[in-house]
Assembly symmetry: C3
Homo-oligomer: 353 residues x 3
């Protein structure tokens, strides 16, 4: 199998997150997902349509055209396609609309305020296979906005970053990380293709973000938990918070998040995220301050480091570089093996046909 | 045959446009034509010289040197070459000038205010094979300046754009295009390697450019013709104008152009153009307004769209992508076939040697 | 053997210049030398340490971490390594430090104010093989600062430039070069892998730099010598100056330099340089003026020309392009042959193992 760089071939037989629901309205929104170019829009019925973004005529991106009711008009020579992908209008000459004139249509589901698209070749898997986020419906939480970043990084290195939170004390010392040297106890469980990595740092001062949001004072001693649920290819539910040492988690101060990394091309990714907390919900400006801190940590700490790793790998395969495997790598390594198995399984399946 | 991207290997046994005559004077002017690096200058006799732009010593571009009478001096170590390409001076050591010390010389012809260079390996074809432009000598026309743009686009996608003017209503709605949905009648004729594609849009309101240049009022109903003559590789004579519906073309208002696209590298092109009209010749500022409108249409409408198409093709071969072929594609497809045949013919001929 | 562009594979069994001594202190300094990523720092003992800059865990550049006494801490997850390359601390989980957890350590020597690193696979060659610069210890000279530039150019084209100083009159007419057409007498001697190329321009007006530094007046007639000593891969000692025509060199005005070009990657290089003179040592501002003139000549004359040559070569092999060989090329061609032989010898040696 051809493999380029640290990026893997994509697993395609998956529901992929392509947008927050609120991002899709009455305009043509492009996304490149697992190498496919898609155009998304909300139909007059309210349903989201997902079509190939490449006009079959001369390959113009459809999102450069215009939306006429539920029909997309190509911006180059004016062919029109409906939400099912059929060509419904050729404005030139005798108006011929050959059968080959169509756009691929993708199945779409909206769940938990997220838009999911089936990228596989055949019938979509049951939507019960889509990871759910009941926490996004919790009315007592204070939520940040629904954010999307595009990152010039392959998904596997971002997943590595998120599944090995031992980096926080070193890369984010002034925000998210506990003090360097704080003891951590990590347990990793795998169930099917889902990985649950739980990390506990008991009996230490609170990370700066908790002080800044007045969840704890600098002299408090707390237990800090950071539990990550991962589903392929990069769908994270992060449950994190602090409680007075020895206290019950239910009494703690939660500062959790949904973080979904989606492969765009082999070297770039989308990053969807939303944070929420169960304390100081109404303090003016606090949500905005958390957003600013997270964006700063991502863009001035995580992204430069992961970019440096990518550059240092220089297109070589991760395993070929013989990475040092330490106990704290268990979750990230298992996630890589899940992805490798999914891709190998699809390749074998494709071979059968 | 190796083919990279949507770009074709070059047909070389052709006279290529390299400059407007007025662009070549007493300085060293570089051009990269069909992958060859050339340096051009006007000799004291008035004749244009065309030489390889690569010094045989250490490969310095000759145009970075200086012109001494009719001799070119390399800017790196000072070797001098005459207009025939012979080394006439080595300033160092014993002044040795080995026979291998020469620049390739190219045959040059000036016609119709354009400089043509023979890029083939052998004797140049008769200059009667060069497409002529008698319209450039028409003293009753008002002409724009002689323009050259460099475009970071392969020639074939630009030729596609120009040979399928059905794009005008969609890509240039506010300038050159007639109203969307205007009926068009297209006829395509091929004679030798020349293609004539004639397009008529009868009985519609005038395109905006005709209103803006006071060739017609917004409530007039006109016949709009746009006839394209194409010669390899991208030499266009465009005859276009409007006349009151049912009127005789001779009574019409002409707004025509010469447009010559020349392959520079596989992914970049030169675009030479000049427009002219037979009305409102003396209205102050009108010629400049037309130039500004054309540059804006090229650079904010055509170029971004063709660039998007190029990116979407991502280096894949045009035919391998199975483009949808519609009646309006006839001229562009025939032009591609002419170029494919010229290249295949040259490859076969080269094989004979 | 695979060869990319004009760049050669690297000879590795050499001591490489990596820094001026004064550049290495108590911070982590990165260098990429012959494709290897290194991190350098000065230990508390004063000795310089050189380690691989790539963490064996997840390949983070070590120089993005921090220096704790003589130990380097990775900036991603906090592993620590001592100056010998051994992992001495894993802050996570059970603190496991597998044997595979180490950084490659490089041998280091400081001589003449320069830091040298052995890039070979085995035992380092005796330090007596390192080219020496007694002139850098000459207390009666006035020295410029110790400079380093990074250049986006392969080393071989920079060495070509420096070993064929016949370019000076053409590329640096207003600074370092004598008048165009000045006679030059060149002699080249090779001893082992060292090349000595001596150039004399007798009986001509002084180059502008000597006028500007008041070493001679514009009407003087001088003998100008420019002698280059080269050692692999790009270590130059340049002895240059002027003397009244027919005078003895000992009475002359020296304006000499150390210039060391080091291959970083196949397409980029470091350039270490320092100039010195034996006249007008105490004239205020003169040293700074010389520095400014040299930087300007490098960056506005040499670098653009060598870059143009590199672009014109477009990744092709130097010999495959059949360069014209002239008498003045002798030194540069011999240096290429020395490098080719070193590389071929290493390849053959590696084959034996
Ligand atoms: S490219 Fe879409 S209609 Fe031509
Ligand atoms: S490269 Fe032209 S004279 Fe040396
Ligand atoms: S990459 Fe260095 S400790 Fe993880």
């Amino acid at each position: 199998m051809e493999r380029s760089g640290s990026a893997m071939t994509f697993a395609r037989e998956l529901w992929y997150t392509v947008a927050w629901s609120e991002q899709i309205g009455r305009s043509l929104t492009p996304r490149t997902i697992a190498g496919d170019h898609l155009v998304l829009y909300r139909q007059l019925s309210g349903d989201v349509a997902a079509l190939s973004d490449t006009c079959p005529h001369r390959f113009a991106p459809m999102h450069l055209g215009s939306l006429v009711d539920d029909v997309v008009q190509c911006g180059y020579h004016g062919l029109r396609f409906d939400a099912g992908g059929a060509c419904v209008h050729n404005p030139h000459g005798n108006g011929a609309k050959p059968k080959a004139a169509r756009l691929r249509r993708y199945d779409v589901v909206e769940l938990d305020g997220l838009v999911w698209v089936w990228m596989g070749a055949g019938e979509p898997a049951d939507i019960s296979t889509i990871p759910r986020f009941p926490e996004l419906h919790e009315s007592s939480y204070a939520f940040t906005g629904a954010h999307m970043m595009t990152m010039d990084l392959p998904i596997d290195l971002i997943v590595d970053n998120l599944l090995d939170l031992s980096h926080a004390a070193y890369l984010h010392p002034a925000t998210l990380g506990a003090a360097q040297g704080t003891k951590d106890i990590t347990s990793v469980k795998k169930a099917g293709n889902r990985i649950q990595s739980n990390r506990l740092m008991p009996g230490a001062p609170p990370a700066f973000v908790f002080q800044a949001t007045e969840a704890a004072g600098p002299d408090d001693i707390v237990d800090y938990w950071a539990n990550m649920r991962w589903d392929p290819p990069g769908v994270f539910s992060m449950d994190a918070g602090i409680v007075a040492t020895g206290g019950r988690k239910e009494d703690g101060r939660i500062l959790s998040s949904v973080q979904i990394v989606v492969p765009s091309t082999e070297g770039s990714s989308y990053y969807f995220w939303k944070m929420f907390r169960n304390y100081n919900e109404d303090v003016p400006g606090m949500t905005e301050a958390i957003e600013a801190a997270v964006v700063q940590a991502f863009s001035t700490e995580d992204e430069p480091m992961v970019r440096a790793v990518r550059d240092r790998m220089a297109g070589r395969n991760f395993w070929d570089m013989r990475p040092l495997l330490l106990p704290q790598d268990s979750a990230a390594v298992q996630a890589r093996r899940v992805m490798d198995a999914l891709i190998a399984g699809e390749a074998a399946g494709a071979g059968d046909i």
